[in-house]
Symmetry: D2
Subunit: 467 residues, 4 copies
């Protein structure tokens, strides 16, 4: 079956795969299949239990076409011609020679005339957000972000033969290095210490003598995949006989338990202070005389007592954790980071974006919403909309009006009327099933249709049949 | 003995008391004695075990001179004439009639001509920081702040006969109402609910019908004291036959365990994320699908597991609490809030403020620091300086150059050289003993004298004998 | 000849005209021809002597194809589908019914589904910067701006049959109303007073009773032109039987002598104060006692003397006017407002934008600048670059890297080395002639080529033959 | 007579003089007499016709007591003890040795202990605003500012024997160097060029070789005066046998015709653009092609025409000059700069500042305004209040609530009701005569008294007899 082909991934060209995925009825399932294709033949399940966040893994496929269609240097050349690619914003020109890392960005637009001159002089080119220029990259990342529950990003790297563009360093993201053209010699090193395992921030550039011996050394060829977790130092250079083009797909930046706790903890304390008088009681009159760095060497029983009271309150704090509210804060950040969904032809023809209203022969045709109680609808993607409560109000956050350029648009949301909350929750939880508008738990048909129109106009829902 | 007299407080006028206190060798002891005088005959110990933060207490003394010398309306009148008292900044004109609370502040300087006109028309006058104008109030508060380990403030209230200036409300501070002249009818009410016990913020004005029945109703007369904890609603009005002048001494604003935890908790999380890889591990891929308000009613075992992981990490967080560093942050805030010490004549003559260098007969005399290794010194007050470490650096914070006007000066500090840290710690912990400069644990005599000169010039230390 | 055809404009379709203009060797000549086409058959010369800034003029052509190709509703429909048109930013939805003017913009992207619904409900659509979406509008405006020496802008208005979208008002720009489709009933009124002749700011919306009787009333049909100066009140509405599409081309916003004087006058005073001690002499000691509004009715001879001294100095001020520097300030503002030039195919193939460097068959080809002393070059357009001195430095300002979106890019410039100033001036003044790089008045061939490369990379010059 | 004594100034001590001046009925006359005392025996009239803004002048009196009472080092010493003098804010510690000028200010409060140590080590002390600390300096400056119609400031300089505290330089103010104690060797030099005659800004420090030969060299002794205009370079140093204390009284900073024109010119252009269509007409289409620095060498007849049109408009601009409004803008700046008047005992007892309302024996006495229609009033000083119109509104600006610290208070003013404008103008112009409140040109007695009360409460008027 198609699905099996997808699962083992053999000989599946990316365009065909994406066309197949467009027929998968559930966006979460679609995302799983795409991720499975990325790491094939390693099963996703074992990847996550044994490799993810733990160690590098190499997939060599001897199939240079495996990732074909995702991106190419020819497409990059076309892009430079037709799009407004700006040095420093969209494209970095870099070199790493004799242990020195340099950036060569001039000001202004990157035109082939200057870009290829840099390349010919041994500079590497890093395209910072290919998703804004390539529909395929956009499509792939927008599907994967739903799988990761965290922003999926990408950089493309083009390196001339016999050169290296970057110093050894580690990043703050999980990295999937997808080799697209040519080949590249990679060396991967263990984190230097426990403190640099799964680090919060990327490193500065290292000197070769600081990083020890590689735990993995390999020549990646077109169709191969190299994954390594954040904190693993890496460097890649081109052999004299071939250029290299790869895209690094990344995720899980600032997506740790600690990052979530940063949302939980201040609010937990606020709640504890509101609800628990123990947190509002005054400090001992004399605590400044035995606490503080100046007194930290004192063996004062009052210190012990003070410290244990702090311990007790910190533990009690856990009971006031507003976990769901904090998750929603995190979700809002994620929604702002999200790429908008790229619609399949079917989705397009059944949503506001592809609606047939138009100007034809000097007048408008097919105009006016035809949503009725009989119209069957569902949210466009499992994860494209989310109900959150912000104090008194309930808001619906959604990704369908986001931009392909990171944070170019504000986070999109609107306040949900009390009488619409249940209907929206019902709608979200019913995915991937279509519901008739008439089945919405609202008071009147008018109300149901008004809600459906509102959601349709924002691109949040689409219909089972084209309107 | 003097001390006994002070302890029982009989017949002790404030000026005499303060003169006696000037001879107490240790500023902490001095502070205890002054506080004891404030609450006499209630022993401070039982006050703190039974009353403080728990309930109101009334001390009726039948001695209208008990607090005499602290402040008076005559002094207020002199102040208006000689000082730049500004409406809205230093003085509020208020009224509460027929259940309506109003403020009548005009712009500009408050002169007797307009102030007494307001008073004669039934307005109350609230002087906001008498410590900036009255040396006695400054002296008393600067001593008490060392006792409380928290800023001590004061407001003075002058109310015409037969009027009330303020609506019933509660405050966010511990209040000591000290009746100075005339008398005032007070009503005190319990907090309205558990949530308003020891509240974080002051209340708005209440209507009479919202506050129930008073738990204490009394006419306070000159020499009497009324204490009530934050959260206790109160209102006071003048009887037709007498005006009232009282000062409310306050402390413990934002000085609770929770306020300290606000310093502890964000840093604890930062440390945990640096030191403990568990906090840096990624969130589950799918957590957004079962967590969040939208999913809070779901009975999903993954929710239970997620919540218990948060509980586990929150409890673990306690083990990373930087308590001493957080206390120092709190201490810095307190140091910024502090009044500068008011020096006794002996302190003055032995410190930089009273040093004898001067212009006389057309030339300077007694100039040039005469600090030597034999000079004996100590810090001016037990709590006037504090060593704190801020990351790499160690800084000495001090209150001796603060202003009598709240936050008019920046928080004062300087970075301490590594070779001076031990000497300063030694100096602070040796108080109230005097040390010879030669005994400082520094490398050279030059170094010891240089440090002593530095501390002397900032007013942090004084000498055993006038220089 | 081509030129004659262009001049009388008969039967010339816009695309053909623009193709012809691409062959005109001098951008200023090209601009004149395009403007002549706009106002045909009125000769430009008589237009400027008799009509411009003086009175409305109507050109009825009975040729609905005259402006064809400039813009169309069909193109607008395509735009909504393919481009990110945002309500409020790029598109306004308006109505004017029963004397009330309303704006109906929702938030977010304007999609055909909602746009056409508004239209069908009688709303007018105003597209704010068609030049960002339509290459033809961009091309036309970028040519006209060189003619006007002032920014040329455009708005497109689509109005449903039987409706009016805007209240009567006047604008602060010279307006060329170009009827593209359907027809529109226009009424134009004289400025209401001398003060509103050639006004500095646009008016608010007027009531019908405030504007008197029209001086011109006409039904504009496709191919017709209506011009009116700033200050002339106007309103247009659709007849019941036809929609209307027109584009209003505008220029001369804040481009008056007074606007230039705002640059001249403060600097003139600065110079006068530096160079002329009369301006630095002190005011009379007692001038505040007889001058000022409070003394304006006094018949004091000192007033007369004071006023005549001011008159004398004001007149003297004229002699310090830095006119050329002020014109350059104005030019810089204009350069920032400018659209970038739209290149003809010949210009493209001979400039950095169309240079043949590219990726082909896995490697770069045609790379590396081949500019030599023999290369013949000229500036891309007569007015695309300008040398200005800013204090000490000389800077070259240029428009070739501007964006089609107003002020999206900063004003572009770079500092010119002293040894390059003459060469750049020579280059600018030689236009439209091509010069060999070797003929630049620089010291060395290296220098000449370096300058040429710099100018070529910024798109300021192009070569006589493709490189 | 008193007046004659004052005029010839013989043997008049400052305190006696100021007491005498307190009896002068008109503040302008008072100011004239004080200025005459300053420059005695030079008649003020000849001083302003021959010396002011033209050249230095020296007055040697052989009377070391002439300026006695203005300020002294003993007073400075007292000030350091009792007032919050801050290094860098109120006091600068400087030195000029071997051609190097240094500032030695530590942070924080200036106490005698450190100040006299600096002095003993050869540093000069500059007290920046003695008027904030010395009532006599305040009094003298507040009187002189009315004479100058421009802020009068002062710095005090104390210099140890055998040292120099400042490098040669010139200032941007008219300087009256008043020698108070000891003696100082001064050298004064001509401005270095025409451009530095009456300069707008002070100079940097000069090297000795840059300033040529002095035109005046003298040893100033106590009681002597040295005046020099802005732009004259000067330096002073102490002889080995005596310290020096002098105060420099200054005025006329930014008080030139050009400074006034900076208020006139932008508004004149605004008015011209509103009222004169010539200023609103568009620039020539092609002006950018022949104007601007790039074209400044072209001999183009259009340049001549363009330049002469600018000349014509600049001259026409003079006819739109809003001189009185601009003078009022300047007056407002001056009012903000002004010291508040220092009241004489008579003024005090008849104004709000000295009104007898007070607290006495437990109650208020003498309260309530007793202004009636019979009360006779006048403005406190000829120049303490000024009516200005700001667009629609008329405001009264006044100096009586200013602070002795420069700009510590906002500029004081209030909007004047239409029905009060005439009365205030009448009141201002009647000075120094007293008017009965009943004679105010207002509609009702109520209105007249209300206005008088308002002005009395702001300290703007005082009464003929104490209330």
């Amino acid at each position: 079956t198609k699905d099996e082909e997808c699962a083992n991934g053999d000989g599946e060209a990316l365009d065909a795969l994406l066309a197949d995925l467009a027929n998968v009825n559930n966006s979460r399932e679609r995302a799983s299949k795409l991720f499975q294709w990325l790491v094939n033949p390693v099963p996703a399940k074992s990847f996550f239990s044994e490799t993810w966040e733990k160690k590098p893994i190499l997939v060599q496929r001897k199939n240079s076409d495996y990732y074909k269609g995702l991106f190419s240097t020819a497409e990059f050349d076309r892009m430079l011609r037709k799009e407004d690619v700006q040095y420093g914003v969209n494209l970095d020109v870099t070199s790493y020679t004799n242990g020195k890392r340099k950036t060569h960005n001039p000001a202004g637009r990157a035109l082939p005339f200057t870009v290829w001159d840099f390349y010919e002089n041994g500079c590497s080119l890093r395209l910072l957000n290919p998703q804004a220029f390539s529909s395929t990259v956009w499509n792939v990342l927008s599907i994967l972000q739903e799988y990761f529950g965290s922003m999926a990003g990408a950089n493309v790297y083009l390196t001339p033969p016999g050169t290296q563009g970057f110093a050894p360093h580690y990043d703050d993201i999980e990295a999937f290095v997808v080799q697209l053209e040519g080949k590249k010699h990679w060396r991967v090193y263990n984190p230097r210490s426990e403190d640099e395992v799964l680090p919060v921030l990327s490193s500065a550039n290292f000197n070769q003598i600081d990083i020890g011996k590689p735990i993995l050394e390999v020549v990646l060829e077109a169709g191969d995949l190299l994954y390594f977790p954040r904190g693993f130092i890496h460097q890649g250079d081109c052999l004299p006989d071939a250029h290299s083009l790869h895209v690094t797909i990344s995720s899980f930046q600032k997506n740790s338990w600690g990052d979530l706790l940063q949302k939980v903890v201040p609010v937990a304390l606020e709640i504890a202070m509101e609800e628990d008088v123990e947190f509002r009681k005054g400090l001992p009159l004399d605590y400044l005389t035995y606490m503080g760095v100046q007194n930290s060497d004192k063996a004062d029983p009052r210190r012990t007592q003070f410290l244990s009271q702090i311990q007790r309150l910190m533990k009690k704090l856990a009971t006031y954790s507003p976990v769901d509210a904090a998750v929603d804060q995190k979700a809002r950040d994620f929604f702002h980071d999200c790429l908008p969904p790229m619609l399949t032809p079917e989705e397009l023809s059944s949503s506001v974006q592809g609606a047939s209203a138009r100007w034809e022969h000097g007048q408008v045709v097919d105009v006016g919403s035809q949503i009725t109680a009989q119209t069957r609808v569902r949210v466009l993607r499992a994860g494209c909309a989310r109900l959150c409560s912000d104090g008194e109000a309930v808001n619906l956050y959604y990704t369908t009006e986001n931009s392909r350029v990171y944070h170019k648009e504000e986070l999109k949301s609107f306040e949900v009327k009390a009488e619409h909350t249940d209907a929206i929750e019902f709608l979200i939880h019913s995915y991937p099933k279509f519901l008739t508008v008439g089945s919405f738990p609202c008071d009147s048909t008018e109300d149901k249709v008004a809600l459906a129109e509102l959601l349709f106009e924002r691109g949040i829902i689409h219909t089972a049949e084209p309107l």
